[in-house]
Each structure stands twice: as C-alpha cells, then as structure tokens.
Symmetry: C2
Subunit: 107 residues, 2 copies
C-alpha cells in the first residue's frame, strides 16, 4: 500500500466556490475514484489556495491517475474543475499534480 | 477521528540533511507521538522544501500538539529540528505549523 501526497494551486478568487464544489462531488466520480484505487483520500486547503492531496492506494500515483483517466466521468469532472486552478493553458487539473516525496511514516 | 493536514518550510540548503534525519527518528520520539494521538502520520516534501504533514488523531491539532509539548523528548527533538526550518527567530518547528482546512474526504 502506497501513501501518496501531491499539491496543486487553486486560484485565490475561486477558493470559496471550489470548497462548495467539493461538498458535492458527484457520486459517480467518488465511485470511479474508489474503483481506481483512491482510498482514504483527503484534500486540504491553505488560505492562499495551496491544495494538498493525500490518499492511499495499491498503485503509484501514475497508475492510479491513468486508471481514472480512462473513465468518462473523470473527463467531465476535470473539465469542470480546470477553471479553478492556476494554469497557463487551462490544463486539466489531473495533469498538473505535483507529486511529493514521502520522507517519514509513523503507523 | 480527525484527519489533520499542516505545512512547514524546510530551508532549501537543508533538504537532504532533513531527509536523513527523518530516516532515523528516535524511537522514544515515535513512542511519544503515538501516545499523544499521532497515527498514520506521513511527512511529504516538495523539491523546494515545502513540507506537508498528514496524520489521524482522536484529538484536534492543538490538543495533539499540546500533548507532545508536555514530553521531554519533544523539546529535544524540536530544538534539534529548528535549524532546518525557515523562520525569522529560529522558533521551534512545532510552534510554526500552519494548519490546513480539510475540504474533501473519500473513504
């Protein structure tokens, strides 16, 4: 089992709207994440929009992301989320994740 | 059970040394963390030194940190770690944690 951390950056003027969206993530998106190996998945937000993701998976981030990328619901969700993130080209957020290195673990 | 996320900033020129220190966290420090309610605790590092912490606890961050602050081993560990972190006054890292807001959870 892998523990995966990544960061993204939400636009400062979109933070409140982003939070509302994440109170209502589509059930079919949640089901696709679970089926693709995204477990115990949390998103955390700093006041300035820095967004940190943590999840546990039998896969690495590349594989878990590739599995999600094969689902139609993910395409729709990423297109809906793209305007919320800082990007030079309005890229899909799931292609902008910056993976972090795990440097410590305590059970 | 609470899921807690926080950030800190490791000095760019201390990153490699910080990583080595965290391969060898004192057993008594690990025991104190567990006894203070720090579980499934991971630290993740971005290349520039941004450090993200995630743990699960029956307590909130303030309470879990206060419990650790009562232990003698934590005082020694925080003094040892202080030079690794960006700070204007060489403050103890456990007094500089910036807590993040959890905005999404998927079991």
């Amino acid at each position: 089992m892998n523990r995966i951390g990544f960061v993204l950056k939400v636009k400062a003027d979109k933070i409140e709207e982003y939070k509302v969206q994440h109170c209502n993530v589509w059930p079919e998106m949640q089901a696709a994440l679970r089926a693709s190996g995204w477990h115990n998945y949390s998103l955390f937000l700093r006041e300035d929009g820095l967004l940190f993701g943590y999840f546990e998976s039998p896969h690495d981030l590349a594989t878990a992301s590739a599995q999600m990328a094969q689902t139609e619901v993910n395409t729709r969700w990423q297109e809906k989320m793209a305007p919320y993130f800082e990007s030079t080209d309005n890229a899909r957020p799931d292609r902008m994740l910056v993976e972090l290195e795990q440097v410590f673990y305590l059970a």
